[in-house]
Every structure is written in structure tokens, then in C-alpha cells.
Symmetry: C2
Subunit: 303 residues, 2 copies
Amino acid sequence: MSAEPPALLAADWGTTNFRLFLFSADGEIIARHTANIGLKNLGVLTFEQALTSVMKEDFARPDLPILLSGMVGSRQGWREAPYVACPAGLDDVVKGLVAAPAAKLKVKIVPGLSGEADHPGLINVMRGEETQIFGVSYKTGEGVYVLPGTHSKWASVEGGRITGFSSYMTGEMFSVLKRHSILGDLMDNDIDDDAAFRLGIDRAMNDKSFLSLIFSVRTEALFGHIKPESLSSYLSGLLIGSEIRAESIRHGIRPVTVIGDGTLIGLYERALKHTGFTDVTRQNGDDASAAGLWAIAQQGRLI
Amino acid sequence: MSAEPPALLAADWGTTNFRLFLFSADGEIIARHTANIGLKNLGVLTFEQALTSVMKEDFARPDLPILLSGMVGSRQGWREAPYVACPAGLDDVVKGLVAAPAAKLKVKIVPGLSGEADHPGLINVMRGEETQIFGVSYKTGEGVYVLPGTHSKWASVEGGRITGFSSYMTGEMFSVLKRHSILGDLMDNDIDDDAAFRLGIDRAMNDKSFLSLIFSVRTEALFGHIKPESLSSYLSGLLIGSEIRAESIRHGIRPVTVIGDGTLIGLYERALKHTGFTDVTRQNGDDASAAGLWAIAQQGRLI
């Protein structure tokens, strides 16, 4: 434990995950904790009860300011923190901070961001990712950030502001097709097959119709071109490739920073390099959340 | 019942559906029957037992030739009838007829068709639809045929031959997204909302990225632009619109014949007309199957 006294409790609190950080006054992370109190796992607990339940040992500091980001600020969360419209910088996000109705704790919630989508009249939204993006970008104030996941985001940052972003249902599409469609039925004993993954990416990069292309998982299995254990890699390539293709068309090849953790980030790195994104940087998702929460807390003078 | 004596028993036997027809020697349909013996519902019955179980009353004619089309000829069916490559006419299909290993019945199975897909190295397949297409097209020998469904098909017929076709996972995609994704969770008390359906079609016709576009079901719900009861129509429009867009790009606007039944056909008719396909003819799917089975039986001299 650091010699510096604790000054801030902060957490990324999403639908599934909860990641808690204890900061010293100089922004050092004194302690980290994860807990199974994602929004969908709260059960009968109130948000304050759930939060209090994890504030033990190092984290037993109900006197400290608490800052939360993620779906905890959604309509289904603790208190809705209305979306702040892009372009948005740290100062705009701080203006949108909302106090949670806590009895004993001093809790502020980070608002999500909204931005215009490619289609007229359509709007993109994010909650939690904006904090990660600020966490990685606040020093340079520039860049393109890719956040793979259930609903992947690609965001542009200019002059310290998130100017716009796109959402892709890539992760959830993979999951529902694998678990609930005929395509998943054909898969068996999944392995990570790089050749099948690249084939999927290449085909997606030349895609003319998504609904037609993904059916090829079935026909490639039927004709024995791709083995059951490699079909999952192929589908993964088709989906990630479709996402990268759309971004390539929209914005061209650019240096990008991929923010996240685990196997998925590795897949995106491979896919990006395979499709010509030679300048790819990786950032740990946890660290990005922590750095973003700290930056917002400083900007908002919570500490 | 017709005065003509029965001459042929024929059925479209798929994964879910089984539709049986009794023909007179002049091709008149004497009787029709549907039964719940689709491939996935066979249970412990053999194919011959299942077929015999429905051959009652008018259909109690084990002496007649029997012709079957559909997934019954797949690898998971009674006996595999290998795909015949496009372009394929009735004569090619007849050459590909395969005898089923029946103990007491005289059964032949119609082969499916395979055709090159847009992507190099990829192959499309159909089973059962080829029979419906021949059933509708054998008189004129020309046309473009749309068969909406779980895996929709668009097929071109020239000079009496099915020259090629495309597959779209439209129906299954709708089903898995509605039942198993966050998009379906937002839907409630579905109504047929034509405005939402058309909005979905219009947006899909300008689609730049499928995975991004379908996420709009969520954001449109979030901002209250589309009500929970209309989101299903909107998603339906996005998916059918994506299919029509791909065909429009590939082949342009052409007169088309839609083959099928039920609500889905009505949706496709509306979507096609909305997107500029002004010359749309509808054909009943049952009648198309029956006419195709009859045409194949005649060409193959089964009767």
C-alpha cells in the first residue's frame, strides 16, 4: 500500500462488470477490486447497498468522493446521467456529472456521450467507453480509438474532444449467431485458426452483402472447405472484417489505438494489421478506465 | 375427389414442413395433406415409417411412384441426392434423381442445386426451392424468382434453366436477433407498423455497414423515436431492405416473382414495391412445390 493517503474511489460499473479503483491524492492507484455486481447481477440490492458491500479493507472509505462511469448512469442505472453531445471534451463531461441519490456516500456519475451516426436522423451512444477514451487520449488530445466488445466503438479525438464515433454490434452478433443460429450448430471443438480468421476478414473486406456473406459459414462447412473446429474463427473474421471494412470506407487507414483486454483485443490487432492498419497501439482497458476516471475527477475538482 | 385415378404421390419434405400431394394421371391435384414430420420432428421414426404413417385414406397408395424434394435429400435426410450445379434445367435435375432405400415404397428424391456465389470460391446451395422455381417457371422458362424465408433465395431462370442464385440469411437473422439479442429485449406487443417498416427499408437501401445499422434498433428505442411495438417492423425493414439492396446492386431493378406463403410474402411485396420493383407477381408456395414436383415427375417419366 502506498504511503500517500487515499483521495478518491472510482469505478467503471457496467451491465456485467464492476471495476473499482482507490486513488491517492497524486493519482496513483493504491488498490483495485473487481466484483460481480454488474447491473444485471444486482438482485435485490440497491445500488448503494451493492457499492457499500464492496467497500471493505482498503476500500472502506465512505468519507471519500466516489466517481462512477458506465451503464450505472443509464436509465436502468442508479441515476440517469443524460448523454452529452459530441464533440465533447473533459470539461463538457464534467458539466454533465450527476449526483447519485445516495444516503451516506458522495457519489457522482459520468454521463455517456451521443453523436450523430452516418444515417441522417440516427444517433450513436456510449457509456463507459468515453471514460476509457479520455483516459488514453487526454495527454495527446488526438487519435482514433477502437474499443472492441459487445457493441464495438470507433471514436475520433481531436483537440482534446471526442468529435464523433460509430457503433458496431459485432460482439453480440458473434454471440447470437454462435449460440442460436444454424451457423453455431456446425461448429465443434473451436480452435483459433488464423488461416480461417484471415479468410473471413478478406471476404468481409470485399463484402457486397452481409446477410449473404455470413451464410458462407454454412456452405463452407457443407463442402468441407472449413473444418468444424475452424468455423468459429472464420465467423469471427467475417464479423471483425465487416467492422473494419466499414471504418476503412468511412475514414481510410489511420493509426489506431485499441483499448481493451483479453483474447478479443488480440484478434482485433491481428485483423487490423492484416487489413493494412500498420500503426496499431494497444492499451489495457482497466488502466484506461482508471486513468479516465482520474482525469474526470481532477477536471471536476472532486479531489 | 377427381374421377381420374391417382398416378403420383409427391411431397416437399423439409426440416420443419411436410406437404404431400396426390396427383391424377393428368396432373390434377386430387388431395393435399400436411403433417408434422419435418426432419427435426421425426423422433425415433425412420423416413419410411414416417412417410407410411401419413399415407392414409386418399393417400393409402403404396403402389404409386413417390417423388420427394427438400431437405429429405440432404446429408441429414433419407438419402443424400448430391447437388446439381447451375445452370440446371429439369433434365439435369432428373439425371440427379436418387432412389431412397425404401423397403416397400418406390421413392425418388430430387437433388438440390449448387451455384457459384459472388465471392470467389464460395458456393450457394438450395434444396426444395429449385422444385418451386421449376413449378412456376417451366412454362415461360424465364424470370427472376424470390423465395423469402429462413435463408431467402433470389434465382435467375433463362432458357428453362436456373442459371444462378444468391442466399440471404434474412429470416434466421430476424429470428435470432428478436429472440436472443438486446434488440429483441426492447420490443413489446409487436404491431405491423408500415411507417417503421419503410423507414427500416430506406435506411438499409443506403446502408454502409450492416453491423452499425442494426444497432439503430437500440438507439431509436432509446431516444423514443420508434415505439417498442414498432421496433419489430423496423428491424424487419432493415433486414429485408438489406437483402433487396444487395440484389439491386447486383442485378438492378427487374420484374420478379415472389414465391411463398403467409405474412412474410406480403412484407416482401411491400418492400419490393417500395424500393422500385414495380413489377411483382406473387405465387403460392404450396402450388409451386406441387407444380414443380409434377413437372419433374413428367420429365423423369415416373408416371
